[in-house]
Every structure is written in C-alpha cells, then in structure tokens.
Symmetry: C2
C-alpha cells in the first residue's frame, strides 16, 4: 500500500465511476449534482471526493468536463497503458480476457498462464497460454505490476505467492479465499458468489 493511503478506499472506487460518467457526458460542463445523480450518491460526497485530488470546479458553473476527466485520469494513474497478466484460463479467465472493459481502459494483457497441460501452448483470443514456470521471467521481462487471479480456490494462494515473488504489486483476485500478502502488495478480491449469497438473505421469505 505504501504512502498512497491518504485517500479513502470508497473514494477511490467512486472516482472510477465518476470517470465513466464524465466520459459519457456530452456537455462542456457538469455539476457535482449531475454526477451525483448518475452515480447514485450525495452531491457533497462527489465534491468531497474530488477535493482529495485538488480544486477543479468553478463556483456557479461546475466542472469543465474534459479538463476534469483528463486531470482525474492522470491522478488515478489511468492516463497511460498498464500491463497485466492473467493466471487461469478456465471459463472465468477466458471471459476476462474477452472482457472489453479491460482493453478499453488502458489495461493491456501481456500474458495468460495456466497449468493445465491440455491448454498450455494453445491460443486463447490471440494469447498463447503458458505454463506457470514461465511466470517469473515473463513478468520481469515486461515489467508487469498487475495480475489477475482466476484459478480455483485451492491454487490461489500459491499463485499469489509466485506472482509476488516475481514482482507483482497489485492483484485482482477472483478466487474465493482471503489471500495473505506482504504489506507492499495490494489485493482486491471479487467474489462472485458472495454477493449472490447476501441477496439470498434479503430476498428469502
């Protein structure tokens, strides 16, 4: 996590949503109320979030759409392409590789790994599937700092360990486990069934 921790996590998540809203906004300016409306949050929240990064607005007018977008992208580290590796070429991994959102947002998949011998060497949407033993040199060679884990639960921690040893600093984990990682590595977990299970609670009876 290092020294970046001054900005609240919920703010960071919302910032990304604001970016999308700005990208789809046609007018030259936009108010915090307008952003809030689309994002489904409080307008004061939007202003407070933005204020973490600086003062972009003009009282009585709002924010200049393009300017704000460009500034935020840069401050979020999304203004330049970022290399990512995907580990796990099962159903989920394949879907992620095909997912247009990643390409479109400046993430470039540089390699796909899987340890299933039936898959290694084959191509998946143009990417050659490599065995795990090529993790380290590939990551070093391309200077990759982000990885996506889409392997079964039982393999996830070992994969994470290998990725971290290879120098990865950020992990997006789709396996349903809590990964143990050093302090300087950031993990985000997306658990597909967890969310569905909490819905069951609200919906039953």
């Amino acid at each position: 996590m290092a020294e970046h921790k001054q900005i609240p996590d919920p703010t960071l998540l919302r910032m990304c949503r604001y970016l999308r809203i700005l990208e789809r906004h046609d007018d030259a300016t936009i108010s915090s109320a307008a952003i809030a409306e689309v994002a489904g949050v409080n307008a004061a929240q939007v202003r407070k979030d933005l204020s973490f990064f600086g003062e972009f607005g003009q009282p009585g007018v709002g924010y200049h759409t393009k300017e704000l977008l460009a500034s935020l992208k840069r401050m979020m580290g999304l203004d330049e392409e970022m290399e990512v590796v995907v580990v796990g070429a099962g159903a989920l991994g394949s879907a992620l590789i095909n997912y247009p959102g990643f390409d479109n947002r400046g993430f470039r998949i540089v390699a796909v790994f899987d340890n299933n011998p039936a898959k290694v060497g084959h191509r998946l949407r143009g990417y050659e599937i490599m065995a795990f033993d090529r993790l380290k040199d590939t990551i070093a060679e391309h200077n990759v700092s982000l990885a996506i884990i889409a392997v079964p639960r039982t393999a996830a921690q070992a994969v994470a360990d290998a990725l971290i040893e290879a120098g990865v600093k950020g992990i997006l984990n789709f396996a349903p486990v809590t990964l143990k990682v050093p302090d300087d590595v950031v993990v985000r977990s997306v658990d597909l069934t967890l969310q569905l299970e909490t819905l069951a609670y609200y919906v039953r009876d």
Copy 2:
C-alpha cells in the same frame, strides 16, 4: 430492502465468508480467533458479527462447528435451494453459468436469456437460451426472485426494469452502471474493471 436492514452490510458479506471457513473446518469446535485468522479480520469482529444472529458459543470452548454452520446457513437463507435466472449469454454469462460456486451453494439456474437471434434457441451447458420476451412468464412460472445481469452496459437498465416488473427482488449486476430500482429490490453490483482501476492507483510509480 424491507425490514431486514438491522444487520450491517459488511457483516452480511463476512458471514458468507465465515460459512465457507466453517465448511472446510475439520475440528468439532472452532474459536472466534481461529475464524478471524483465516478470514483475515479481528476476532472481536467475528463475535460481534455472530451476535447479530444469536448466541452460539460456549465460553472457554468456542463454537460447535457443525451446529454453527447449520444455524448460520438457515439464518442467512442459504439452507434451501434458490432459483436464479441469468440474463446475457456472452462471455461473462457463459462463465457464470459454468461457475461451480453457484451450483454448490444452493443456487439453481432455471433459465438463461439473451436477445441475440444467433444464440436464441441454442443450448449453453444444458440450458436453452431464450429471448427476452419469455422473461416474464418464465420468472412467474418458476417463482424466481433472484437474477444475474450479464449484459452490456447499455442494455442493463432495461433488463433490470423488465426483471423487476416480472417480480424479481434481488439482482446481481455485472454491468458497469448504477441501476435505478425501487426500494423493495436489492441490487449488488460487481464491477470487474473498477477494482482493477483502483489497483492502478496504488501500483503506479
């Protein structure tokens, strides 16, 4: 959301994780400290979370694994099978249909919908893909209250509206938009790129 709102949302999410930990635990008893260790949270947090549902523990001993598991499953509404429909049979939808986690946790997919004429009528892992015009009667017929949205961003709100009109009360949304829904419908959004984008912030430079 209705009258269930007394339990904090973060607690609900953690409860599901505790369930998994209990399922994989071999000893007859388990302490809050042991659960906390695996879940990566504070032990007091575990006890507080559990206390929302009742008093299950035995001072000096801990919790009886199987008993606790059974009680929690029932209280979370996960003790009986629940019908789900999936809307969107693209890469993500297909991956979700294949995802073992759903089957294993008591969710039964009863129908898959997609409006792509090239897909309608075909089968996907045993499920016939149906056009959207069959949404309403299928949901009514099977008394479905949960739905998964895995369609492109632009179609998501319309799909949500149709699902809600058909009687769905809980939606797991994978499209990158904030859905507008009535108060009695619960939405959980899983945004695949959002998480990756926040990682970019921590990892850059």
